[in-house]
Subunit: 102 residues, 2 copies
DNA sequence: ACAATTGTACGATTCTATCCGTACTATCAA
DNA sequence: TTGATAGTACGGATAGAATCGTACAATTGT
């Protein structure tokens, strides 16, 4: 597994917005925000290899953290890092999605 | 000019994030947020026709409003609509950008 | 040792974005 | 009416994103 995670200082807002600007990834991130998940929790609409691609995008943008453990990979939101660099962004995005459909 | 603007209810978060997830467009929107602009204020790094493309993306995502007047097109942020649908999002994005470089 | 599970890596394909130049339209000013 | 200005539209080039299938690696349970 290619496990490169950017440091907090290396997070870039356009990259984060781009990563979240995809319906599949946005939905995945919302789900992860409710608690740690493993990859296979999301293989429904698209194939395994497609989800691997989306996890990579989210990881490289610094949105999620991947923690391999045995056969599975636990994923969590990098909430503290995102809040430090982009205060209010995540809550605005999660709150926004409650307001209306998309 | 193709002047289609989505209604407030038609705004979609992934489209907005995608539109803002581009350095040129993000910089343009930050500039527009400080006051109304015309297209040619931004033709520096890229060509006129490229900026036309970026304005279209921002307009169709519902981020900006274009108002033709004579020979020029005034552009403004759709701040009220964005705030109504995605409260706190714009301020988080503008605030984020003050925190660090990108 | 073997099979099942979980996920990655890679190559191919298709679709979309970015970007430019050129041609064009509309407005304004002389 | 002629020319300058501000911008769009279109076609084409290049690059990147999304998707899949197949093949592979690592771990776990039998």
């Amino acid at each position: 597994m290619n496990d490169h995670h950017p440091t907090r200082d290396d997070l870039r807002l356009p990259d984060v917005l781009l990563a979240l600007g995809n319906p599949i990834r946005l939905a995945a991130v919302k789900q992860i925000a409710t608690g740690e998940c493993i990859c296979s929790d999301f293989v429904t609409d698209v194939s395994k290899s497609t989800m691997t691609h989306h996890w990579r995008v989210l990881r490289e943008a610094g949105v999620i953290q991947q923690r391999p453990e045995g056969r599975v990979i636990y994923m969590s939101l990098r909430q503290d890092d995102l809040e430090a660099r982009f205060p209010g962004l995540l809550s605005a995005i999660f709150n926004a999605d409650q307001v209306a459909s998309g």
